[in-house]
Symmetry: C2
Subunit: 181 residues, 2 copies
């Protein structure tokens, strides 16, 4: 049976600052109908910035929805329709104070395919010129530097559990093993 669901009706229930929420009516391949709840998000980027000592910039911040502080690669939300590479260049300079150079695209991940439109584009870069940090107004971020081995050990111990950070750490190691970066 063909894997496709046709949208019959879209109902916007909420238009927010970060997300919109829809409840759609969809038609399945066998003709039956189903309700589909969809969270709309403009998408984001994750950026792994490696310094000259082989250490990566990592951020800790309070994640309100998870009710705890998490340790992650720097990330940022796209403006609607923005080219993710522009977001990556802007966010990494704002959060670390360094411009990136030699950007490499690690690929993308879909964090929650079941109900969310979000896609996260993942980048690797080396530190370039120092330009000074410039946090968003309501960001309260602390920065530490870790080697890739330290990051992967922290993942294996369960101390890092952010999906993009886990994906990025292993994608970087695999890309290095394949001579891509």
């Amino acid at each position: 049976m063909k894997q496709y669901e046709k949208t019959l009706k879209k109902d916007y229930l909420f238009n927010g600052i970060v997300v919109n929420l829809r409840r759609d009516q969809a038609e399945l391949p066998d003709g039956r109908q189903a309700v589909r709840e969809v969270v709309e998000h403009p998408g984001g980027v994750g950026i792994a910035l490696e310094d000259e000592e082989g250490k990566f910039f990592m951020v800790t911040q309070y994640r309100y929805a998870q009710e705890r502080v998490m340790l992650e690669f720097p990330a940022g939300k796209k403006e609607r329709g923005e080219d993710p590479f522009m977001t990556a260049q802007r966010e990494i300079a704002e959060e670390t104070g360094y411009e990136g150079r030699d950007f490499y695209y690690l690929g993308k991940i879909v964090p929650t395919p079941a109900y969310d439109t979000e896609v996260i584009d993942l980048y690797y870069a080396k530190t370039g010129r120092f330009v000074g940090v410039n946090f968003d107004d309501d960001e309260n971020i602390e920065m530490i530097r870790m080697t890739l081995d330290e990051i992967i050990d922290a993942i294996m111990k369960g101390e890092i559990d952010d999906a993009k950070t886990t994906s990025m750490a292993f994608l970087i190691r695999e890309s290095k093993a394949r001579g891509l970066i």
Copy 2:
């Protein structure tokens, strides 16, 4: 500055089948207030089931919010409050037709920490007894089997981009390299 945000008020805007949506008022450490949009989700599991030939069961299904078919490890949503190991045992049998044995906990990932409560618990298991598939009523799933190397190659080519699948594939390889599974 302490990394903590205190909830001042929770407003439920939507209570759905898959998600709830809240808009909270939070107090930041410096005393200012901020709006926090929160998607509530009961959480889910991902299960990598390896057969006797070293191949993993993978599913393709139409992901409505992403408007395309995606290739992923089998997964399922928890009932509210359900022990994720129970979900994993149930879902893997329903989707592949095989019970799992020798379950190993790979860890958890938080797919979207910025605005979503969802946590995904990740399991590895070997194929046990065949009990027959039993899909949910509105699931339209196709099954293929792939080796771990094939899965990782597909990730590196961008053919697989589901965050839990990317995380799980590399966590399995790392766990095997460390002699954990």
